[in-house]
Symmetry: C2
Subunit: 291 residues, 2 copies
């Protein structure tokens, strides 16, 4: 079960004018699209549950931020919002209860000036095991110092680009080491993020996540969790964190839009305690969202 | 004028069985192809001139090396060679004298196990000005230390992947600084390569290029130039080079498959001498190749 909406652009101005539903089983992209030849585009993935697309405004804001970092045309939020909602409704109508809606904006075809855009929705796999039992992770060096967003903005650290080959290679390295996920560190030793997730640590009644000025993505799901946690009386914070902070944390999670909250049950082969009760409450809070 | 050949894969085994010519103006890729969603694939670009595809065996060898680094299935050289030659012949038959033939292997559609592959050929733009007058370059930090291929192979340094968003951002940064190209440096200060080129320096009768164990591509065009230069009595070498070596060089070039040899005429806004005579001889040698 999958649905695709193709964004319509005015070839004269490059502006998005609307969208139309297409057939996701049929080819839609030219072999010269810069998404396919250069990973030159950006994306977001929002979750769908019980008929609601989650954190859509946060995803649209982050898409706009990535577009600015890559000097792509500013995505028209009205067009993208409508396309994402339409895909979410179509998936729901097909009986999908939990799904993922990915939206992609590329620089278009080589030599052209019109972007390409699409919204693709599909049912999610069953993540209940990851959400309860957790995942084993390895720490891997991302190779960049923590301050590259300031010193070398052309490295696009903190933009959500289509150039994810390294993220996928890191996951293969994790598998080789008997783990299911990765937490990247900066070359100077700070905790960053997972290939497709945000780190969350609990120290007592305090929940913390790495500072976003380290060239990582501002987590849309983590932001919703902080809102929930603050209402529950937790303190929250953005900090410069090290592996020692991870080791001393009462609990750790990797948080992402579609898998939601996955407790970290081992780091580099060393088991660690899982906070099953809070994991369940966090996941329940995410699934209960109506936007 | 463009031509595309699509590689046929056996869905049961994932093995390449042949190819067929397609219509490059029609969509050929699904929106779920990992080339488009993750930049998860590899490529090569060979030049075509006067009916000959250049350095094809070196490109096929490098494609195989990139495939191994990304744990992609080993590309069948016989199938890819035949497809590239067919695209070169079709372009030549269309009257293309100088062209580019790009071949791409991706991990295929998300969730599947069959790769996607194609060969795309098109006429080249006129590079005569870059080949004679040269290009202005800026030095930009690639963010990685020179030894990441050894310490962090998951960063894929030295693989020619489709995840080129950073390379393109670096070229935009160069344009902002009034230059046309980039020479990347390691975070610890060594000269690396351009986003799509290899550095070549001349010190007297000695031609040198950076060592390939720094996480850069082994240049197919630079290799052909070394062969030519050695026959002409030049010494050649692979070295650990710094910006001081660039400043003290008698001449510098960025070398690439399609643009060929572009003399460096300015570095970070400071003009430098161009060796017009040797540039012309190098470009003539490249264009005279019959394979």
């Amino acid at each position: 079960m999958s649905v695709v909406a193709l964004i319509d652009f005015d070839p004269a101005t490059g502006e998005a004018t609307g969208f139309h539903l297409g057939d996701a089983e049929e080819p839609q992209l030219l072999v010269t699209d810069l998404a396919a030849t250069r990973g030159d585009g950006i994306f977001e993935t929002a979750s769908l549950a019980h008929g609601h697309v989650h954190a859509l405004e946060a995803h649209l804001a982050r898409l706009a931020q990535s577009a600015a970092m890559l000097q792509l045309p500013e995505p028209d939020p009205a067009v993208w919002r409508a396309a994402v909602e339409a895909v979410g409704e179509a998936l729901t109508a097909q009986g999908v209860d939990e799904g993922a809606v990915k939206f992609v904006l590329t620089r278009g075809v080589e030599g052209g000036s019109t972007p390409t855009g699409w919204v693709y929705g599909t049912a999610s796999p069953d993540f209940s095991r990851e959400r309860t039992e957790g995942v084993r992770i390895v720490l891997l060096d991302r190779g960049y110092r923590h301050d590259v967003p300031q010193t070398a903005p052309w490295l696009l650290a903190g933009a959500k680009t289509l150039s994810y080959a390294v993220n996928r290679a890191a996951l293969r390295e994790a598998a080789r080491r008997g783990a299911e996920d990765v937490l990247f560190t900066s070359s100077d030793g700070y905790l960053l993020e997972g290939p497709t997730s945000t780190l969350l640590l609990r120290h007592g009644r305090r929940l913390v996540t790495p500072r976003v000025d380290l060239g990582i993505l501002a987590g849309t799901t983590q932001a919703d969790l902080f809102t929930w946690a603050e209402a529950e009386g937790y303190e929250t914070g953005y900090e410069l964190l090290t592996p020692a902070d991870l080791a001393s944390a009462d609990a750790a999670w990797l948080v992402s839009s579609v898998r939601h909250v996955a407790p970290v049950r081992a780091v580099d082969g060393v088991a660690r305690a899982v906070d099953r009760e809070l994991s369940d409450r966090l996941n329940a809070a995410l699934l209960a969202r109506v936007r």
